[in-house]
Amino acid sequence: MTPVQAIIAKELRSYFVSPVVYVVGSVFLLIVGLLAYLYVVFAGAQAIQLMQMQGSAQINLNDLVFRNLFSSIRFILLIILPILTMRLFAEERKLRTFEFLMTSPIRISDIVIGKFMSVFLVFLGLLGLTGLIPLVLALFSDFNWYPVLTGYLGLALLGALFLSVGLLASAVTENQIVAAFISFGLLLVLWLLAGVGSLLGDTAIGQAVSYLSFMEHYDHLVRGLIDTKDLVYFVSGLAFMLFLSHRAVDSTRWK
């Protein structure tokens, strides 16, 4: 077992013996399920209306349910993922196990990657459970699977980015609450950059600022558009955040 695998195994164990994953997971699935239900009911109501007006109705579940759902999940992730990541380094420092990790014969990058992978796996597990929604809908209706799958790809990438921001926040403080708030703050800024960008208009700076926000990149994927530019955004953003986390962990030794 490599050090990274050992850390992943240990972190997963820690996640599943604490109530945090169960509480966060239940709330996440409850809200997503409720939203999916509401969107389906609205879509149904719209179908009935169309039937009454035109005699027949062809509604698009991709537009009415999935796009709305994916947009909403983005916001839920922004709130719950910092709760999952806040303990990663802050807890180690509070409980003085940080010194043990740092004096173990492993690279700091192993620690950072191991911790990131563990929380990413937890997140993928939660995301996987929401897969029941399209599966159940597929039993009763017809929709295009392709944008749903790219939407899930978008969610996985978006989640990875959010988690890496949370990891960085956890690495700079030993207080978990502070870590959670730092990641909320950073993610909200990343979100609002889209607004700032459109305010600046179609200038070079405006475009650059918009590019920094995840909004546009995620929207492309939700609409079924796989663009290398968007993939590069997520992957490079993730790498950059992991790099900063590495620096943050390393720098605590100097204090």
């Binding site: 409980l95 010194e99 014969p105 690279r107 030794r253 100097w254």
Partner: protein
């Protein structure tokens, strides 16, 4: 095995340790003695590559801590001040994790875990969550962690804190048994511990090494006068002045309990025979007569207190009651 040369660590304006140098040979046990905040933990953290020194070099098993931290970390077992345990894991899960981080696997990992669980008496608690264990057990789990990969060098920051007297004796025995095959640095402020398990003592105060020697040598070197403690059944009123008249006796202090005296004699001159004769011929009822050697505790207090600028006499006087019969 361990060579520390002129290491200095500064935190901003504050100098935590100042040009500290010492070395530990293979198989040697070295005690790091010093009051709180003297720089013991800082030195240990530099040796374990947790933090870099501002100046100077530290080498473990020939590897420089700054240049080859992984090689150094592989050869060190480290027990920090607070046992670094994960409260949500059981003892075996924790040791398994520790072993994997250090590259142990399969049968070697299982046998190493078994060895440490047995050695530290963790058999009855091995399947319990560490969070539910007492401080003493957590400390032992921390020690098991440090020993798990059978490192050449052990760095133990106050290893017996939180243990009961029986366990303390066991751990001291354990450290003594490790000597010879392992190099050990342990920090403590329990002085008998240093005398009991260490071949050499480094006393550190205010970030600087103030003394380094064997426990016996240290007390001998600092002994500036021989002392005799004397207990009499029925001393006369002029006993102290007559005792002072004995050749070689420089000073006579009257002790706390009735009939006890502490005599300070010239260095290298044993006045016990004379004093005994005087006591017997005067009919004072000699109950006890013994030479008082300076304990490491006295040495420690003297070294660390004079460092702070207290007059030496005052320190000696405060150290004396330790030698008196109670």
């Amino acid at each position: 095995m361990i060579e520390v040369q002129q290491i200095t660590k500064r935190y901003g304006q504050h100098t935590a340790i100042d040009r500290v140098s010492f070395s530990v040979a293979k198989g040697e046990v070295l005690a790091f003695l010093g009051p709180n905040g003297a720089g013991k933990t800082t030195t240990m953290r530099i040796l374990t590559c947790f933090m870099p020194a501002t100046e100077g070099t530290a080498r473990v098993a020939g590897f420089d801590c700054a240049d080859h931290p992984l090689e150094v970390k592989r050869r060190i077992g480290y027990l920090p001040e607070t046992p670094p345990v994960y409260l949500e894991l059981t003892v075996t899960e924790y040791l398994q994790f520790v072993g994997r981080l250090r590259g142990l696997s399969g049968k070697i990992l299982t046998s190493s875990m078994q060895r440490e669980i047995e050695r530290l008496g963790l058999g009855t608690v091995q399947h319990r969550l560490i969070g539910n264990l007492s401080r003493g057990y957590r400390q032992r789990v921390g020690l098991a962690q440090a020993l798990l990969h059978d490192p050449q060098v052990l760095i133990l920051d106050e290893p017996t804190v939180g243990l009961d007297p029986k366990q303390i004796i066991e751990i001291r025995e354990l450290i003594k048994n490790l000597a010879g095959s392992h190099s050990v640095i342990l920090s403590t402020h329990i002085l008998p511990e240093a005398t009991a398990v260490c071949q050499r003592v480094v006393i550190i105060s205010g970030g600087r090494i103030v003394a380094e020697d064997t426990p016996e040598q240290l007390s001998a070197r600092l002994r500036q006068s021989e002392k005799i403690s004397l207990t009499l059944k029925s001393p006369a009123t002029d006993t102290d002045s007559r005792l002072k008249a004995v050749q070689g006796v420089q000073n006579v202090f009257i002790g706390g309990a009735p009939g006890t005296f502490l005599l300070e004699c010239e260095l290298g001159r044993d006045a016990r025979e004379e004093v005994a004769r005087l006591a017997v011929t005067s009919g004072w009822g000699l109950l006890e007569l013994k030479a008082v050697s300076m304990t490491l505790e006295d040495v420690f207090l003297q070294l660390t207190k004079t460092e702070e600028g207290l007059p030496q006499g005052a320190v000696l006087a405060s150290a004396e009651p330790a030698g008196q019969p109670t």
